[in-house]
Each structure stands twice: as structure tokens, then as C-alpha cells.
């Protein structure tokens, strides 16, 4: 029987130290309060003959002391917790991107190479992995206790989560946001494989084409190519070299064309219209499922990388 959670990611130990630190502070405060409580209650019980002497009248000094002491300790804990949190929100640029779609009540995982699986995720050892999370229906939450990480998976919005697994093994994956009748059964596993094992696993599960290639087929199938190609009938912005570059919008602002922006532009094309273009694109909300959107995004990303030398 094991009493501790395995630490299987580089961030896990940091979080455990923080929780340990909090435990220490809490134990100290709890010890102080309980000691004083029992000490006073016994020493100053009403039939105790002990002389009370002068009762502390001026409370101002005490009040200021414990207010400032509490504030200082809390501020330290705040800084510690926030620094780790901010780290957990900044994926390294070279992270391996894996797409996860949640729906009642399963996890669908898609790899850049086109591999797919359900309720299970395979990641390579010691490699930063960035998960792009989207939900098909309600709010879910991707929780891997061994990595000490979790993130809500929202419908209509991309969330990302990154970690570097540093221990080979199979770990639990839970949905930790109540999502309906089958919520408790919406579990899965995360398997960490060493580099060669991972490559082997990828090729053993090889498919007809990579995510981007499948996206390319969908790009034609859904009619995107009709307008977004250079010789289109309607004037629409070219998507070559788009990924990762700044896009000027018609309201004067600029956004970076990341996964979320591209997904939003497919689902809600009239929200962020590119400057000097007409808002003529129809919404594909309800037409294209989240798992296909992921492929389109991968395709558009591949266009970007091909254009740049």
C-alpha cells in the first residue's frame, strides 16, 4: 500500500515543497493557538487561586504585532505560490504539442503524427509537453495528480497545460470538474515512455497521415480552400505564414495568431475580423467538431512553418 502520490513531473516536487512549507506554517500556528488555548483555559479556570494581577489594558501594541506578523508570513506564502503558478502558465516554445478533446464522458487524444486514442495519453520522458485542451460540450477538468497539475477544459475556448514528465510509469487521469451523470467514470491513464519506447509506440500506432495532412483534406472538404486560396472567388486573407504572426484587426488592435485565435476564427469568424477584409465568412460552430478543428489548426500551423525559411 502506498501513502504518497508519485512525483512524476518536474513541477511536482516544487508543489510538494510548497505544500510542505504550508503544512509547517500551519502546524506552527495551530500549535501556538492550541497551546495558548489549553494553557489559558487550565491556568485561568475560574476556581484557580492564581493571582491575575494587572490585566493587559493597552491592546494596540499586541494588535499591530500580530497583524503585521500574519501579513508578513502570508505575503511570503503568496510570493512562493504565485511564482510556481506563473511558471506553470508559461510553456517552453519547443514543447511537443498534443491535442486533447473532452466530451461527455471521454478524453480523445490526437497526436501531431495523426495517432489517436481515447482515455489514454502517451508522453515521452523528459520532454516538455504542451496539451491543447478543448471541450465538445460542458466544462471538464484535466487532472493528473502525479504531475500535480490540472486545468479546466472549456467549450468554445482553448486552454493549454504543460508539464515535463520525468518518471516512466502509468498514472491516473481524472476529470475533476463535475460534468454530468458519467463524470465519475471519466477517467483515463497517462503513460510516460522513454524516448525510444515513445518512438516505437508512435510508429506502432501509425496512421494514414499526420494531423496536418488530415487537416489539409478537411480544408478542402469543408470548402475553406474556396476562399482562402490565392485564386479564390471571394477575397479572404491568405493563411500561409499566418501561424504565430501578429494579425491586425479591423478594430485597430492586433492579435497573435495562435491556436486559440485560429480556432475562434473558425467558430466565431465575425468576432475578430482581419483589417481591410469584409466579415463574410460563415461560422462553423456546430458544423465542425472539436477534433476536426484541431486538425485544421494543425494544417494552418504547417502552412506557416513551410513558408518561413
Amino acid at each position: 500500500m502506498r501513502f504518497s502520490l508519485p512525483e512524476a513531473s518536474t513541477g511536482a516536487a516544487n508543489v510538494d515543497w510548497l505544500i510542505g512549507g504550508l503544512l509547517l506554517v500551519s502546524a506552527a500556528v495551530l500549535g501556538l493557538v492550541f497551546f495558548l488555548l489549553f494553557f489559558y483555559v487550565i491556568r485561568y479556570r475560574h476556581d484557580s487561586p492564581i493571582r491575575r494581577g494587572e490585566i493587559a489594558e493597552k491592546s494596540f501594541r499586541f494588535e499591530i504585532t500580530w497583524t503585521i506578523a500574519t501579513l508578513a508570513v502570508f505575503f511570503g506564502l503568496f510570493i512562493w505560490g504565485s511564482m510556481l503558478y506563473v511558471q506553470a502558465y508559461q510553456p517552453p516554445p519547443n514543447a511537443l504539442k498534443i491535442f486533447v478533446t473532452a466530451k461527455q464522458w471521454m478524453w480523445k487524444v490526437e497526436y501531431p503524427g495523426g495517432q489517436r486514442e481515447i482515455d489514454s495519453l502517451h508522453v515521452p520522458l523528459n520532454t516538455p509537453v504542451e496539451l491543447v485542451l478543448a471541450s465538445q460540450d460542458v466544462i471538464h477538468d484535466f487532472f493528473v495528480p502525479a504531475f500535480r497539475t490540472k486545468r479546466d477544459v472549456l467549450p468554445g475556448q482553448y486552454e493549454t497545460l504543460w508539464f515535463t514528465a520525468n518518471r516512466v510509469g502509468t498514472y491516473h487521469l481524472f476529470c475533476s470538474q463535475f460534468c454530468g451523470t458519467g463524470h465519475a467514470a471519466m477517467t483515463g491513464s497517462v503513460t510516460v515512455l522513454s524516448g525510444p519506447d515513445y518512438q516505437h509506440w508512435l510508429s506502432a500506432n501509425g496512421t494514414s497521415g499526420t494531423l496536418a495532412q488530415e487537416g489539409g483534406r478537411l480544408f478542402i472538404q469543408y470548402g475553406c480552400s474556396g476562399c482562402h486560396n490565392d485564386h479564390g472567388t471571394v477575397r479572404a486573407p491568405s493563411l500561409a505564414g499566418l501561424y504565430g504572426s501578429p494579425v491586425p484587426l479591423s478594430d485597430g488592435s492586433t492579435v497573435i495568431a495562435d491556436d486559440r485565435y485560429i480556432s475562434d476564427s473558425i467558430m466565431y469568424p465575425r468576432e475578430q475580423v482581419v483589417a481591410s477584409y469584409q466579415p463574410v465568412m460563415p461560422s462553423f460552430k456546430g458544423v465542425i467538431g472539436e477534433d476536426d478543428v484541431v486538425k485544421l489548426v494543425a494544417y494552418i500551423e504547417s502552412l506557416g512553418s513551410e513558408q518561413q525559411p
Binding site: 516544487n14 508543489v15 510548497l18 505544500i19 504550508l22 506554517v25 500556528v29 493557538v33 492550541f34 495558548l36 488555548l37 489559558y40 483555559v41 485561568y44 479556570r45 475560574h46 491575575r52 490585566i55 493587559a56 491592546s59 499586541f62 494588535e63 497583524t67 500574519t70 501579513l71 502570508f74 506564502l77 503568496f78 512562493w80 505560490g81 504565485s82 510556481l84 503558478y85 506563473v86 506553470a88 502558465y89 461527455q104 460540450d137 460542458v138 466544462i139 477538468d141 487532472f143 495528480p145 490540472k150 479546466d152 472549456l154 467549450p155 468554445g156 475556448q157 486552454e159 475533476s176 463535475f178 454530468g180 451523470t181 458519467g182 463524470h183 465519475a184 467514470a185 466565431y268 460552430k285
Partner: protein, 435 residues
């Protein structure tokens, strides 16, 4: 100031009066009463009923968890049970618990008034509470709700099968009961204090109740509006929160927690007030640092409005927002710590009597400190990522809510208002227990 404006007839009359319990025995005399003590007892009886319904749900939740596969064998039943437990306990029990029972009973006595400022509105708020409670019970009897007490969209607006609208309407109606009660207390405390009772001479319980009332009046309307929008979305498919309809699910969470976090302070502040009354009485000493305890209540109420985002650290709000909310959440813990230290200061060099209320109050300190310290784990961002949505959170708020509640309303009832500045000790101190 406001003392000058008090009309003559609001002082307690000198002549002997019938006790509120003797003054009529018919059902009518109870259901149409405008007497604050009788209304307090009406509330007491009704929240006790709801407490047992919610408690039964809790017992069934535990029963299901006896076996790994679930003793109830049905996920649907289980989901409905914990939703029912949450909704009933939060809105029909914890939020009203102390203000409407002890508050109704004690506010007029403590400020030396004959009744609350608006006795009829007081009765109206009980009827609203009952109407709202009936809606919620109806929703349960009709088959239940399975969204969890937080009604997160789009689960509650688009996907859940249960009687969400009915339950939401019930919560909406009880909200008006809360608003009216809060309003009544605020006006009473401002306008009906006995001559010479300045703010700093008020019993400390009134400070916490006043802070609670401010939250009730300011936060509850936000919940009401949110639930109204949720119902509109569910019934008429108006897109507000559901992304399918062009809404934003995070907007719902922001609005919901803008009420529901301060609501936590609605539940705990009056309890702190009760404990701040009991400890001095049974230590035979003045409360240590009265002004600090009083202003701690006010600052909890004020800062409590700006910490709702700590329910959303992993929900997809921006990292900047999370960092800000984390800092503010640590800040709101400071006044609570101040209170605990002042209670300890009160015990120092006292003559401590171990009557039942005092034992409860001491137990409250222990539980509250554990509940408060576990809160630090959840306010620290990186730790919260791991602990969020787990049993750690459940344990944290049950420490504060359930245990603290049991530890303060019981002694509160036992002590009644034995000590209230200026008001004499009365026979009714044990009365709430007799019914």
C-alpha cells in the same frame, strides 16, 4: 445623531407584558405574527426541517460511498443527492441560519428597541423563505437536480435533465428573503439604537451581523440576476453563458462566485459574533480589542467582495487575475487571524467557566483555525492547482461551515442574549431550545 430621531414609542415599555410565548396560542397568532421573537422561532423551526432534509442527503452520500461500486448503484441518484445536499444546506440552512434566528431574536433586544424597523417585512421575508424552500423541495420531489449546487453552465443550461429551473427559481425567491432581512437589520441598527448607544458601545455581535447584512443586501441581487439569466438561457435559449449560443461560461462563474464567496462570510461572520459574545461572558472579562474585532468583521465583509476569483484559479481566467485574487485571499485571512488572537487575549487572566456554551465556543476556535489554515493552502496558487476540486477543498469548507456552525448556533441558542449591553437578562434566554 440618529439617536435623536427615535420616536418615543419604540422604547421598551415599563409595564409588565405577556411573554411572547404566552401571547396567543392559535396557529393564526403564529403565522400572522409580526413579533421578532416569534418570527425567529418560525425560522428556527423551518431551517431545522431543511437541515434534516439536507442532512439526510449527506447521510445517503456517505452510504453510497460505503462500497467501491456505490451502494446506491446509480450515478444519477448519487449526483442528485449531493446537489440536493448542497443547495439545501447552503441556501436554506447556512445562509439564513444565524441571522434570521439569533439575529431576529437579539437585534431589537441588543439595541434596546421594541422590534425590528420593519416587522411586517420581517414576516414577509419568512414567507418568501418558505416559498423558495417549497420550490426547492418540489424540485427534489419531482425528480431532483443533478448539476451540483454551483449550477455551472453549460451543464445546467443545456445538458442537465433535472428540474434545474424550478430549483433556480426557489433559490431566486429565498434570495429576496435574504435581502429583506439584511435591509431590516441595517435600518434597525442605524435608526433604532437606544439613546447613548454609540457604535462602539454596541454588543460585538451586532457588528458582525451588520457586516453580514451589508453582504446580504449587496451580493444577493447579483446571484438573483445570474440565476435569472440562467433560467432565460435554459428556457428561451438566450445566449448569455453557453458558448453554443455565443455566451461565455466563465462569465457565469464570475457572477456566481461574486455572490457565493461573500456568502461564505454570511455564514461565518454571525458565528464569529456569537463566539465573540460568549468568550468574554464565560471568562468574566471584557472582550480583548473590541474595536479591532469590530473592524475585523467590517474588513472581512469588504475584502470578501474581492476574492471570488480564487474559486477559478484553474478555470481558465488569466494568470494576472489569479495572482491578484491570491493576494487578496491572503489579505482576507488576516482579519480572521486577528479575531482568533483577540479571543485568546480575552481568555488571558480571565476567570474561565466551563458552561456548555463556552465549551462550544472553545471548540469553535479549534475548528475554525484548522479550517482557516487549510484555506492558506488553497490561496497559495501552485498548491491550489493540485488541491482544487478535490476532497481537500471539501474538508476545508466543511471544517468551517458544518463544524463551526454546529459549534456556534447551539451555544448561541443556549446563551441567547444573557449579556447584551443595556438590556436586562430575560427569561427567554433558553426559550429557543424549548420549541
Amino acid at each position: 445623531m440618529s439617536d435623536l430621531a427615535i420616536p418615543q414609542q419604540q422604547y421598551a415599555p415599563a409595564r409588565e407584558q405577556l411573554s411572547y410565548l404566552q401571547d396567543g396560542h392559535s396557529l393564526r397568532s403564529w403565522l400572522l405574527t409580526t413579533d421578532h421573537k416569534r418570527i425567529a422561532i418560525l425560522y428556527m423551526a423551518s431551517i431545522t426541517v431543511f437541515f434534516f432534509v439536507g442532512g439526510a442527503a449527506a447521510a445517503l452520500i456517505r452510504y453510497n460511498l460505503i462500497l467501491p461500486e456505490g451502494a446506491l448503484r446509480s450515478a444519477e441518484t448519487y449526483n442528485r443527492l449531493f446537489t440536493m445536499h448542497g443547495i439545501i444546506m447552503v441556501w436554506l440552512f447556512l445562509v439564513p441560519a444565524v441571522p434570521v434566528t439569533l439575529g431576529n431574536f437579539l437585534v431589537p433586544l441588543m439595541i434596546g428597541a421594541r422590534d425590528l424597523a420593519f416587522p411586517k417585512i420581517n414576516l414577509l421575508s419568512w414567507y418568501l423563505f418558505i416559498a423558495g424552500g417549497a420550490c426547492i423541495l418540489w424540485a427534489i420531489l419531482a425528480g431532483g437536480v443533478d448539476t451540483g449546487w454551483t449550477f455551472y453552465v453549460p451543464l445546467s443550461s443545456d445538458y442537465a435533465m433535472g428540474h434545474v429551473t424550478l430549483a433556480v427559481v426557489g433559490v431566486f425567491i429565498t434570495g429576496f428573503s435574504s435581502i429583506l432581512t439584511g435591509l431590516n437589520f441595517i435600518v434597525s441598527i442605524h435608526r433604532l439604537r437606544a439613546p447613548g448607544m454609540t457604535w462602539y458601545r454596541m454588543p460585538i455581535f451586532l457588528w458582525s451581523l451588520y457586516s453580514t447584512s451589508v453582504i446580504l443586501v449587496l451580493a444577493t441581487p447579483v446571484l438573483a440576476i445570474t440565476l435569472l439569466l440562467l433560467s432565460l438561457e435554459r428556457i428561451f435559449h438566450v445566449g448569455v453563458f453557453d458558448p453554443q449560443l455565443g455566451g461565455d461560461p466563465l462569465l457565469f462563474q464570475h457572477l456566481f462566485w461574486f455572490y457565493s464567496h461573500p456568502a461564505v462570510y454570511i455564514m461565518i461572520l454571525p458565528g464569529m459574533g456569537v463566539v465573540s459574545e460568549i468568550i468574554p461572558v464565560f471568562s468574566r472579562k471584557e472582550l480583548f480589542g473590541y474595536k479591532f474585532v469590530a473592524w475585523a468583521s467590517v474588513s472581512i465583509a469588504v475584502i470578501g467582495f474581492f476574492v471570488w476569483g480564487h474559486h477559478m484559479f484553474v478555470a481558465g481566467q488569466s494568470a494576472y487575475a489569479s495572482v491578484t485574487f491570491s493576494l487578496l485571499s491572503f489579505f482576507v485571512a488576516v482579519p480572521s487571524a486577528i479575531k482568533v488572537f483577540n479571543w485568546l487575549g480575552t481568555l488571558h487572566k480571565g476567570y474561565i467557566h466551563f458552561d456548555a456554551p463556552m465549551l462550544y465556543a472553545l471548540g469553535f476556535i479549534g475548528l475554525f483555525v484548522v479550517g482557516g489554515l487549510t484555506g492558506l493552502f488553497l490561496a497559495a496558487l501552485a498548491a491550489d492547482i493540485h488541491l482544487h476540486d478535490t476532497y481537500f477543498v471539501i474538508a476545508h469548507f466543511h471544517y468551517i461551515m458544518v463544524a463551526a456552525w454546529c459549534q456556534h448556533i447551539l451555544p448561541g441558542c443556549i446563551t441567547g442574549g444573557r449579556r447584551s449591553a443595556g438590556a436586562c437578562i430575560r427569561k427567554w434566554s433558553l426559550a429557543p431550545l424549548r420549541c
